[in-house]
């Protein structure tokens, strides 16, 4: 067979996976119907109304026009709360890492065989994560009083729930071969973690921690709403006093801080990936 005759009979053929029988097609149709119904049902529940959004555009425009130009005169007043926000985020992140580390080894499915312990740990983490930071902050404010410290505690607890889950997932994705080799060399469980697990997950962990720091920076700004320190207090009081130009300044400062944190974490991550050797 030469290439000439190949070209003549070479037609297109659809190779995508598709049902082989009428029953299969009916199944797909039923699924499409069900998805359509769920979307319609949730749109009704969420009272989605594009016409109201369109009708409300002038109000949004009004809000925006009243917040420009930002009131730069209050910048000096924002220094202290901005620094406080960073300090809250640093300690909130650090404490959550310390709390999350041991839990992640327990929650990972490939390091030990006590399934019940892992399940309990995972459920505990789910419960912690399901409680909003603001609510945690309210609880801690009532416990230790107003100020940045309850904010730190709220971020630490909520961050622990998230970090332990992500740490554990990173552990579950590692190559088991090196762990087998270490076990075969007679290494103890702690030695296996130090020489087999940590070197394999460390870059993924650092990426998660840096991301969590960014999240904490953003969260720390709203914790002020419940009296837990930081920029949020200024933000909320300016909103309450209808000083939208000051609100705009607060939001800009927060944005700059988040962008700076993102740049710093990118730089750190690339440095770590270049030069990891232990």
């Amino acid at each position: 067979m030469n290439s000439q005759s190949l070209k003549q009979t070479d037609r297109w053929q659809w190779t995508a996976g598709r049902p082989e029988s009428t029953g299969g097609w009916l199944g797909y149709a039923a699924m499409a119907l069900a998805i359509g119904w769920v979307l319609h049902w949730s749109a009704a529940g969420a009272q989605m109304s594009w016409s109201e959004l369109a009708g409300g555009m002038p109000q949004i425009g009004d809000f925006l026009s009243r917040s420009v130009p930002p009131d730069w005169s209050m910048l000096p007043r924002l220094w202290a709360p901005a620094l406080e926000t960073i300090q809250i985020a640093i300690w909130g992140t650090l404490l959550s890492v310390i709390l999350a580390l041991p839990l992640s080894f327990i929650a990972a499915s490939n390091l030990h065989g006590w399934h019940w312990l892992r399940r309990i740990t995972r459920q505990f983490l789910n419960v912690i994560r399901s409680i909003n930071e603001l609510i945690l902050a309210l609880v801690f404010v009532s416990a230790v009083g107003l100020g940045p410290f309850p904010g730190v505690l709220a971020l630490a607890l909520h961050g622990m729930g998230m970090l332990a889950k992500f740490f554990a997932e990173a552990i579950e994705e590692i190559d088991d071969g090196p762990l087998q080799a270490l076990r075969s060399a007679g290494a103890s469980q702690l030695q296996i973690i130090a020489f087999g697990v940590v070197p394999q997950v460390i870059t993924a962990w650092i990426a998660v921690v840096l991301y969590r720091f960014e999240v904490n920076l953003r969260s720390a700004t709203v914790l002020g709403m419940v009296g837990a320190g930081g920029l949020g207090f200024e933000l909320v009081s300016s909103l309450k006093l209808f000083r939208y130009q000051e609100t705009a300044t607060c939001i800009l400062v927060i944005t700059v801080m988040v962008i700076a944190a993102d740049m710093a974490s990118n730089w750190l991550r690339s440095r770590i990936q270049q030069g990891t050797r232990h």
């Binding site: 009979t9 190779t15 080799a181 075969s184 060399a185 103890s188 702690l190 020489f195 070197p199 232990h278």
Partner: protein
Amino acid sequence: MISIRNLRKSYGSNHVLHGIDMDVKAGEFVVMLGLSGAGKSTLLRCMNGLNQPDSGQLQVGGIDLMRRHSRRELARHVAMVFQHHNLVQRLSVRKNVLTGRLGQVGTLASVLQLFKQSDIALADACLQRVGLAHKADERTEALSGGQMQRVGIARALAQQPQLILADEPVASLDPKTARSVLQYLRDATRELGIAVVCNLHQVDYAREFGDRIVGLSQGRMVFDGVPAMLDEAALNAIYSGEPQPAGHTPEQGAALHLSSTAVGNWLPGAMSPATAAGGLQ
């Protein structure tokens, strides 16, 4: 060194080892041949305590593996070289070799990255034996496949074992590199008087490097002798033990014949493009 009597192992209804009897003397280089699924890896993993046999006797370095035993204790006698070397990529070469010492050093000190100078000197000496002393400070992930397997051998040597088990150590290497890796393994173990049990798929390597060859077929030992005794009949016993489905061999012959036709014309003549594409679904 190793004493095995009537060893049996099955995974559910799948019987992998049907009563193996085998002895390995100190310092002996034994090559194990057999088809994939013949039970070679299972037998090796049993010898290292990674798999628990169902019945029989299994003693390695004076330790009875049929009873409860200490993993750390066994690691003083037995080291393993893996098919995919199983190095920790992010550690330096020297650190990987040092992990061979983990079973014999304190947990707390080693977790804090503290090792005795004698252990570090031993690791460097082991790297010297596999010709990689100059790579000690490099990142392991920067090495080639053959070099990684040599580091795997150095790590096994660092355990100062009396026995090294090698599970298809050269299966993913090219012939030249494979031969050099086996050469390093044999030279180092011979000088140190370490016994080796090595699974291989290449008969010529088995003849070249083995003091003794053991053939496994369907969980039974079908050959045991010096390389000179490994003749056509022995190879048949090892490699055609599995009952072939009828008509299998002629088909293979046909496929071989087709692949030898003109370059570029790889579509089998009897197959139209439409039916060939239909096969993609």
